[in-house]
């Protein structure tokens, strides 16, 4: 890699919003090039030097972050037009992508903005309640080990269990909007995940009832956008497909038993 020139700078455009119902506006900042720089370090620089390119002292940009290693899901935003984690978005690549700049940072569009780049993704957590995303254990008492599981099954479940509720899949999904009630790929995949556990299975019927209802699997247009943007490479469309098959069986059973 070419050693960065300390005087070299690049531009960052940030879409700002002072509060939930406030209008959005853009501001531009100039940031010096540093080695191994990601968007978080850019935002940290702006926090310490909140002056725009036209010399105005402004309020520091607000954003959400936690782990800085792409595992907590907090720092998702729309960077150069694509939803991704700001901690793992590296500046050299972004500059290349934007033909030298400016790099643009915007809040995700499918969730209410709290302030600037900080959005409220409570809906994703609420959806996990809707699909009963848990294993109904009898309690925390000492009751021995859980069911055995083949390595293959573990691998299948492990892949889905890595979902960090970041929201990229929902941001990219044409069917998921701010005000409809589509559950989206994340919640559907989680429902499938719990249906695949020996004990988790006990709530399968209830989960499938939810997935069969409004906002469930049938609202998915199979556009595949979700699986392409998921940073954890969760096999989302596969999980949705498998959930769909579970639903068909469930519907047929329901039809015949009337329950």
């Amino acid at each position: 890699m070419i050693a960065p020139n300390p005087d070299q700078k690049f531009l960052v455009r940030v879409k700002r919003q002072d509060g939930e119902s406030q209008p959005a506006y853009w501001q531009e900042f100039e940031v010096p090039v540093r080695p191994s720089q990601n968007v978080i370090s850019v935002l940290q620089y702006i926090a310490a030097n909140p002056t725009t390119t036209d010399g105005k002292d402004v309020e520091p940009v607000v954003w959400d972050a936690g782990c800085l290693e792409e595992v907590c899901g907090a720092c998702t935003m729309v960077i150069n037009g694509r939803a991704r984690q700001s901690c793992s978005a590296l500046v050299p690549e972004l500059l290349a992508e934007a033909n030298g700049g400016p790099i643009t940072l915007e809040p995700m569009t499918k969730f209410p903005v709290v302030r600037d780049l900080f959005v409220d993704r409570q809906r994703m957590f609420d959806n996990l309640i809707k699909v009963k995303g848990w294993v109904p254990i009898d309690g925390t008492h000492s009751l021995g080990a859980g069911p055995t599981e083949s390595p293959e099954k573990q691998e299948e479940r492990y892949a889905i269990s890595r979902c960090m509720t970041c929201g990229c899949c929902l941001e990219a999904c044409p069917q998921f909007t701010k005000d409809n009630d589509f559950l989206g790929a994340q919640a559907i995949a989680q429902a499938y995940y719990f249906n695949e556990h020996e004990t988790g299975k006990k709530l399968k019927k209830e989960r499938l009832d939810v997935l069969m209802g409004p906002g469930g699997v049938s609202d998915c247009g199979n556009a595949q956008n979700c699986v392409q943007v998921c940073p954890k490479e969760i096999p989302l469309t596969e999980a949705i497909g498998k959930a769909g098959r579970q639903l068909t069986v469930h519907a047929v059973k329901k039809f015949f038993t009337g329950s």
């Binding site: 940290q44 310490a48 309020e59 595992v71 907090a74 590296l90 709290v114 309640i129 009963k132 859980g146």
Partner: protein, 639 residues
């Protein structure tokens, strides 16, 4: 008036907070759970390597819970308290079983049993893991159970709420907290008959660390300023292998060494050839040569210092503060097992560690010290007979199950669980024991909290006058107002950077009197600068600037305690290594550093407390070290 139902407040939604919330709710007490971030994004999510517990396979190889305890005690250089460690290690297998029942996708053997891996400080495989993101999987497992109780109305979550101060009544008993919604900036008091602090570690005090950006230690520092003692604040674990970065140091999990990764530098100073061109004979595998028994699996404090020293001698890669961590020789299957951590390296450096050795250096990683806590040890003479009306007394050798005192701070009603307390790890934490201690605290001591909340000291929180709570709310509002009006000269982010650099230089890998005294001066300077802050955000909504500046003030106060502890402890023990006092001095310092805050002088006061050793006598910590001279090496190889 109907008697108010007891409520428990839990601050923190990491593994410790979630397991506490679940356990207390299960006992039938309502829980209000506070967290700075949605609990699912808590720092625990970062843990990669695994969680320790003896199991049947380990047992049949000659391992036992007792040995797990012994390793924990010697790993911690005997600064840990033995009864809680006994209890934790003996509960460990049950904890793994429980997590397994919750659906945590632990790695499996071909028969479908849970797989094990090797971790530092042990020669036995006793670490359970779920891919390379064990913490994430464990946190999600507990998050799911929490959500289940939330759906049932037994747990109430306050996410994006910051704990500001404990509410302490006129009798010195904790009765609730003041907290702030970091979005609307509303400040409110919450009543609770018991409060559990599970707010994690303080890595941010060192500027860059392997921790999340929320790990400021401010919550602990606030309890300290409100009268809670700190225990062993000078004990900071520096992880031997991290990837240095601009915004943070990213961990390279110990599992890389556990699975056979080797640490080395070129034998020849300044050898700047490509690592793959340097032959086996030209490589200095310094951990393996000095510690032939444990090799790359020596405990973290030892590995950290050896790496630090080798770099000080100028043997670091290209003369820089970097050594190689090499996994290129491992079989594909092992590399696959490590895939998730290798991806982190690749993602943030651009190099593929499967092909080229990783470049790593130590970084601040874990807070062994924290809020001082007490416990009720089990006493075989006193506790053999259990009347049917008191089902809590069970025969064991560690703690008295369900006793309200367990993991309580010196402030009645205020508990500390997980990384925010000081109890289990002593002077160095063994890898993969933190996750265990967090969940153990929540599950085991959750019952203590429940019991206390139903028979709290003094007036129940629900019956205390509003005036008490209002007073604390006003106090916090005044602080925010003062900060918002700061139009001084200094940017809080710059002060933070200064603090971090100083704390890293003085209080981490190697400490020394003169440098510590300079550090003390520097802290005073930083404190003065802090009095003249410039807050650039006047917004009344989601004002991160104010929140950060407030936490910075608390980090500085905590740093004082850490610095004074480091100065006072004139010996070397575990992660606390003094180059001017290189020996462990048991007769003087086999003691807890108890630190009290003197509010009038704004200074820490150091006290010492003896540590009883009822189960295991103290012994030297050698890990089979040999002199690295060539003759000695042969001897070691022969044995």
């Amino acid at each position: 008036m109907a008697k108010a139902e007891p409520r428990v407040i839990v601050v923190g939604g990491g593994l410790a907070g979630l397991s506490a919330a679940v356990r207390v709710a299960e006992s039938g007490t309502k829980v209000d759970l506070f967290s700075l971030v949605p609990v699912k994004r808590s720092h625990s999510v970062c843990a990669q390597g695994g969680i320790n517990a003896c199991n049947d396979v380990a047992r049949q190889q000659g391992y036992s819970e007792w040995q797990h305890m012994d390793e924990t005690l010697i790993g911690g250089d005997f600064l840990n308290h033995q009864p809680p460690v006994y209890e934790m290690t003996h509960w460990a297998p049950k904890i793994i079983d429980l997590l397994d029942r919750m659906g945590v996708p632990f790695n499996r053997t071909s028969e479908g049993m849970r797989d094990l891996r090797l971790f530092g400080g042990s020669l036995f495989k006793r670490t359970h893991f779920a891919g390379a993101s064990t913490g994430q999987q464990l946190l999600y497992g507990l998050d799911e159970q929490t959500r289940r109780y939330e759906a049932e109305g037994k747990i109430n979550k306050y996410e994006f709420w910051e704990f500001l101060w404990p509410i302490i009544d006129d009798e010195g008993v904790c009765k609730g907290i003041v907290a702030q919604d970091v979005r609307s900036m509303e400040i409110k008091a919450f009543r609770g008959d018991a409060v559990v602090m599970a707010s994690g570690g303080n890595g941010l005090m060192f500027g860059k660390s392997t921790m999340s950006v929320i790990c400021t230690g401010a919550a602990v520092a606030r309890c300290y300023q409100a009268g809670a003692y700190l225990g062993n604040p000078e004990m900071i674990q520096v992880h031997p292998t991290a990837i240095p970065g601009e915004d943070k140091c990213r961990l390279m999990s110990e599992s890389a060494r556990g699975e056979g990764g080797r640490v080395w530098v070129p034998r020849k100073k300044g050898d700047d050839r490509h690592p793959l061109d340097i032959t086996e004979e030209e490589r200095y595998y310094f951990l393996e040569e000095k510690y032939p028994g444990y090799g790359n699996l020596v405990p973290r404090d030892i590995a950290t210092r050896e790496i630090f020293w080798v770099c000080q001698e100028g043997l670091g890669i290209g003369g820089a503060n970097q050594v190689y961590l090499d996994i290129t020789h491992l079989p594909i299957a092992t590399k696959n097992k490590l895939a998730a951590i290798l991806e982190i390296y690749e993602k943030f450096t651009g190099d593929d560690p499967r092909e080229v050795p990783m470049k790593i250096f130590p970084a601040v990683h874990y807070t062994m010290g924290g809020l001082y806590t007490i416990y009720e040890p089990y006493d075989p003479e006193r506790d053999t007979y259990t009347p049917a009306s008191e089902p809590k007394r069970q025969p064991n050798e560690g703690l008295l199950y369900g006793d309200p005192k367990n993991m309580m701070t010196n402030i009645p009603g205020l508990y500390a669980f997980g990384e925010s307390n000081y109890a289990y790890h002593g002077a160095t934490r063994l890898g993969a024991n933190a996750l265990l201690s967090c969940i153990f605290d929540g599950l085991y001591n959750g019952l203590s909290v429940h019991n206390y909340a139903h028979a709290p000291q003094g007036t129940p929180a629900g019956e205390l006058p509003d005036a008490l709570f209002d007073k604390y709310v006003e106090q916090e509002k005044a602080k925010v107002q003062k900060l918002t009006e700061s139009t001084g000269a200094n940017n809080p982010y710059e002060i933070h950077q200064e603090l971090g650099l100083e704390m890293t230089a003085t209080c981490t890998v190697v400490k020394e009197e003169q440098r510590l005294l300079q550090g003390r001066e520097k802290l005073a300077e930083i404190k003065a600068k802090y009095q003249d802050l410039k807050i650039s955000d006047t917004g009344v909504y989601t004002n991160q600037n104010v929140s950060f500046a407030r936490a910075l003030g608390d980090m500085i106060v905590y740093s004082d305690a850490l610095m004074e502890g480091s100065i006072a402890r004139k010996e070397s023990r575990g992660s606390h290594y003094r180059s001017d006092y290189t020996e462990r001095v048991d007769d003087q310092f086999h003691k807890t550093t108890k630190v009290k805050y003197d509010a009038d002088a704004d200074k820490p006061i150091i006290e010492w407390e003896d540590i009883p050793s009822p189960l295991v006598p103290l012994r030297a910590r050698t890990y089979g070290k040999v002199d690295a001279s060539p003759e000695k090496k042969e001897e070691a190889a022969a044995s």
